[in-house]
Amino acid sequence: MDSLSDLLNTRKERRLGVFLILLSLMLFLLSLFVGEFNLNIINIIEGLSKDNYNIDSVVFQHIRLPRSLLAIIIGASLGLSGAALQGLLRNPLAEPGIIGVSASAALGAVLVFYSGLSLTFPLALPLGGITGALLSVTLLYLLAGRNSSVLTLILAGVAISSLAGSLTALALNLAPNPFASMEIFYWLMGSLSNASMEHVWLLVLPTVLGWWLIFQSRHALDVLSLGEDTASTLGINLATLNKKLILGTALCVGAAVSVSGGIAFIGLIVPHLLRPLVGHRPSSLLFVSAVAGAALLLFADIIVRLLPTQQELKIGVLTALIGAPFFLRLILNSRRAWAS
């Protein structure tokens, strides 16, 4: 519990943290056992030894497990980067999907994937996503800057999103592959179906690096919420902080998108629901947003599997269905702030 007390300040926050961790664990277990096929636990345990390897353990180890792990890792990255971006830009509507970071990461990944570069060395795929994300966060930071109005940020995001989206479509249409037009949808909406363990390995290193960079700057984020001038008089090196946060978000969002496509709105919903519960303190918000993001994506992924659609619904469709009305409500609530 030592590390938890380091990440969360008050006892109430720690209780929230523990609750969210337990919720995620429960959803993780549920996610392992939800599917078209009922797994037999005894077979799975027996299958752990090579001699008794059976079909149940193939499904468990190669279909269910990577999928649930990806939901946890990607959900946490999205929740965390939403909270971090909102702190960095001091703007409540900052979210990787809305401001175009996911779309740019998708573009980077698409370029690497369809050019065949990812065949020569597999890590090229997440690197492509990370490069795309990094370019767009930097561009946004330059375009919309800090302390700019909500409107400027959203409009800059719309511009970047549509540019990246159309370049993705262009790249896919130039790719010599008959499925390209169907796959545009995958990259822009996101999906976890048919994930494999290789994806988890590809994702894990850059993601953990990104998380580490973001968590390192959590105290500086607290100080930054007092305003830039106050922060620099209190000894915060703003340039370093910005670099860390931008690189951290780019690493974890870029890696996530390169594996699953852009899943929207997780990074918007989660920090907003939790912010009042952690006393609006950015440093505490980071950890709970990560855990709750994982829980939300696991939950959405379970729902997608249970829905009786002929072909599985893309998970991004579901998160957008939940997230878009939420986004609208946020905009309506902050209309007064926009007028200023």
Binding site: G35, E36, F37, Y53, N54, I55, V58, V59, Q61, H62, I63, F113, Y114, S115, G116, L119, A175, N177, F179, A180, M182, E183, Y186, S193, N194, S196, M197, E198, Q310, Q311, E312
Partner: protein, 277 residues
């Protein structure tokens, strides 16, 4: 009397005129559909089949790609087709309907051919098209040849117990009931698991269902090697490899050109499945 004769002559001329218009045999035929290409190339020489799609020359998807070198290939654009001065256009049911409609509006006779999903349906289609393009003799001998090869195949094919097979395409699709692939599997002596499970047409079949369906034979398209698409990456999924190991599943790669159309290629596809050890 003279008037009566003149009247008869007039009627004669009229019938003559109409019969040439109504019953004229089309001389310049253009195909807008890959499957129609393959059928028509069996029936007509290049002088009468004046245009096939440029897909017909693609060895990955066209069964008669070599034959297609002797025919003129078009890109499917309406102006290009008009320039070929066709007097009959053969399209598929699913050929982009805008160009179909435009050609019909411009007064070109267009016939649309469907996708038969049984061997009997293939025979009917060949004979019907043979009539339309005035190549009944060629159509008749094509059908006879087809039937002869089918009889040979029936003798050679594996008898009971039937092997359980499943077809898996890029993007996680399988072929169920009412598909020519299902008919080919049955003709070659396999039970099609997807059809048994009630899948109709070519429809999504999840990876989990595939892995747990306990097949004896897994049939994949040969385009599997094209890894630069998500659709094909699915076919490389570790779970499929593990299923093949655990269930000792035989894997057969079938070139797509053998069974993306119903017709002359279908018997070749069935033979291909059987000749394998």
């Amino acid at each position: 009397m003279i008037f009566q004769r003149f009247f008869l002559l007039l009627i004669g001329l009229y019938t003559c005129f109409f019969s040439t218009v109504l019953f004229a045999k089309p001389q310049r035929i253009v195909s807008l559909n890959l499957c129609a290409d393959q059928l028509l190339m069996e029936l007509l020489p290049p002088q009468r089949l004046v245009g096939v799609t440029n897909m017909a020359r693609d060895p990955d998807i066209s069964f008669s790609y070599q034959k297609a070198k002797d025919y003129h290939a078009h890109s499917g654009r309406v102006e290009e087709i008009i320039a070929l001065k066709p007097d009959l256009i053969v399209a598929g049911q699913f050929t982009s309907s805008a160009s179909n409609q435009l050609l019909e509006t411009l007064g070109y006779p267009v016939i649309k051919i469907g996708l038969p999903y049984t061997m009997a349906g293939i025979f009917e289609q060949i004979e019907a098209i043979g009539k339309e393009v005035n190549a009944e003799v060629a159509a008749g001998s094509l059908v006879n040849n087809f039937k002869r090869r089918l009889a040979v195949l029936n003798k050679k094919k594996r008898q009971a117990p039937l092997l359980r097979a499943i077809v898996y395409y890029a993007n996680g699709y399988s072929a169920g009931q009412q598909t020519i692939v299902n008919e080919i599997l049955n003709v070659a002596g396999f039970t099609n698991i997807a059809a048994e499970e009630g899948l109709i047409g070519v429809a999504p079949f999840s990876l989990e269902r595939l892995v747990t369906s306990k097949p004896d034979v897994l049939i994949l398209g040969e385009l599997t090697n094209n890894e630069s698409s998500l659709a094909h990456r699915l076919l490389q999924h570790k779970a499929i490899k593990e299923m093949i190991n655990v269930g000792q599943v035989e894997k057969i790669l079938v070139p797509d050109r053998l069974w993306n159309c119903a017709g002359p290629s279908s018997i070749a596809a069935a033979n291909y499945l059987i000749k394998l050890p």
